[in-house]
Amino acid sequence: MQITSPTFKANSRHALDDKQLQRALGNVRGGFIEKRAKAAANLPEFEALRDNARDIKNHTLAHLDHYLEIYEKAVIASGGVVHWAETAADARGIILDICRKAGARTVTKGKSMITEEIGLNEFLEHSGIEPVETDLGEYIIQLRGEHPSHIIAPAVHVNKDQVEADFRRVHTHLPPGRDLSEPESLLGEARRVLRSKYFAADVGITGANFLVAETGSSIIVTNEGNGDLTQTLGKVHVVVASIEKVVPTLDDVSQILRVLARSATGQEMSVYTTLSTGPKRAKDPDGPAEYHVVLLDNGRTAMLGTEFQDMLRCIRCGACMNHCPVYHSVGGHAYGWVYPGPMGAVLTPSLIGVDKGGHLPNASTFCGRCESVCPMRIPLPKMMRHWREREFERGLNPATQRFGLKGWAFFAKRPRLYQFAAAMGIPLLSLLGGAKKRFSSLPLAGGWTKYRDLPAPESRTFMQQWAQREALKQEARS
């Protein structure tokens, strides 16, 4: 897909003016937060589980080479094939090869962010193979020629009436007078249309939430059942997963599953958690004849041993974006690549480079909500700060910003001068703010005041107020 992360600012302006998008984003601000909070509150062990989930992943990453080898051995023992891919292009090549050998004309797909990351759909189309997304949200955006705007709710930016229009545009074989006014009727139509696709597909491609070293299983966690139909009905099942998806045992999976669904949708368990191990056995009446796993690095090993290693604990629940005020305002597409929200702001520069993704770690108020809800306790704001530092070190941010930061640093390093300057400036600004105590425009602050007022400061500086408070306390004590 085309990377538009470098124009994040323009993307955001566009998103803020998009009325349909702003209406749809109301659904994010509403449901997700409340549902997660309720699910977490209903499990007294939730916080302890988060600690343990973090520790499990840390242990796994520290021994990743061993776990990958053991996992690979177990897959082979169950009759599956493991392919290793260093880059997105390598992974695409391997998958195409499998599809060609199977004589595939169409492939069905379960919902998978990793296949978005490697740009699989466009590639397959160019190679003459039709990819069919079967998750309802993914199906909707595929019809619209779009990419997911959320990692677990890919069509969260689309409203019901838009879906209706898309279905009428594409499903021309169905009676034009049919009623599609309710989500139920839209879902029913998608279900019927996609049913025939599962049976017609030669290859089913899914991602994986976990790879289990103990058993050699890939696990998908879903609610609709489309992923299961995809991996059961195709003649060949291809699992695409990045290397950090491996976990040691089924007991470890249990621990992480307890925080995954609760953090994502507020469910205690998603409807379907499926372990797939190898191809169909000799006497099995159903299941794929071939089972392949494509293990992808694509930048993960480069994150190991760096300040970004913690990001590899991410289980893609989406809680960080569900709670992010920036995501709430601009949605997922503004981030300009595959992964939006706080996890995207950290991961995108790691995977496509800080020169292209450098705006994203700046798109944060550092309010810290993302870290406070992350089931894997990933220190997202801290890592965004690391990216800001790297961006500054490499001179990638604009001259005015660098000049401003340097100017601020000049004063910040000289506390007396800083206090003096602030003591002069603050009362002046306070005075200029007038009775409303707000600025609707201010030199050098146009970026802020274009969309909202800037509150005028109180008449005294923080340091002055603090000193006075302390003095009063002292007085009260004595």
């Binding site: 990958l68 709710a153 090993t301």
Partner: protein
């Protein structure tokens, strides 16, 4: 160098050092498979555990009935199909446990066996286990219980013995490990928690997305 060696080499380079100790830590964990934090809610005496399983399954929109013994299962299946105004027809696998469940006595009930072709309205499976903690069923694939029965029919009926309901996911996986000892783990292990659903259109939850829109659980026997 192969991609495999390059990737593993890079990991080793970053995370390596004293590889024997690291290999041992991994072997130990796989052998001991330590349990982590276990929710207290599922540590219950058998009767309460079963009650929790039923309550949790109903919370996620599954329906549950209890029958006295295996011989009553076919009757319960026929009754459910009638209640839902469905044709008296059911598709099921070759599970031997179904043989004692009275299907020969339900003359009006058509019994089809094998994998689903997508045209069946109702499918019947036998669960290996259940998880009280979340009202989850654990089903394993094979000739006994084809995976397609879990997903293609609109109505999915699952039989589970009352004594096979465990408290936690870890216990259910323990049961799976035991069942997998002889022939290895089943190709597909399905943990099913309620009927299929989607919230992809304006985050409104609708049942029956691609899988069954109804999940009916028949619990066999008392504790």
């Amino acid at each position: 160098m192969s991609a495999r060696d390059a990737i593993l080499g890079r990991v080793r380079n970053k995370m390596g050092g004293n590889d024997d100790a690291r290999a041992k830590a991994v072997a130990d964990r796989l052998k001991a498979h330590p349990q982590g934090v276990i929710p207290a809610r599922a540590s219950l005496p058998p009767k309460e555990k079963l009650a929790l399983f039923i309550r949790k399954a109903e919370e996620v929109q599954a329906s549950v009935v209890q029958v006295k013994g295996p011989a009553d299962v076919a009757k319960a299946v026929a009754a459910y199909l009638r209640e839902k105004n469905l044709p008296s027809s059911i598709r099921m696998g070759a599970d031997k446990r179904f043989a004692d469940m009275g299907f020969d006595k339900q003359k009006a009930l058509e019994v089809k066996t094998g994998a689903s072709d997508g045209d069946d309205l109702a499918g019947l499976s036998h669960a290996l286990g259940g998880i009280a903690e979340t009202g989850t069923l654990l089903l394993t694939s094979g000739p006994d219980n084809p995976t397609t029965l879990n997903f293609l029919p609109e109505y999915h009926i699952v039989v589970i013995e009352a004594g096979d309901v465990d408290g936690t996911m870890e216990e259910a996986f323990g049961r799976l490990r035991k069942a997998s000892k002889a022939k290895g783990i089943a190709r597909a292990v399905n943990l099913v928690t309620g009927p299929s659903r989607s919230g992809d259109i304006e985050q409104k939850i609708i049942l029956g997305a691609h899988g069954p829109k109804s999940l009916h659980v028949i619990v066999v026997g008392k504790i």
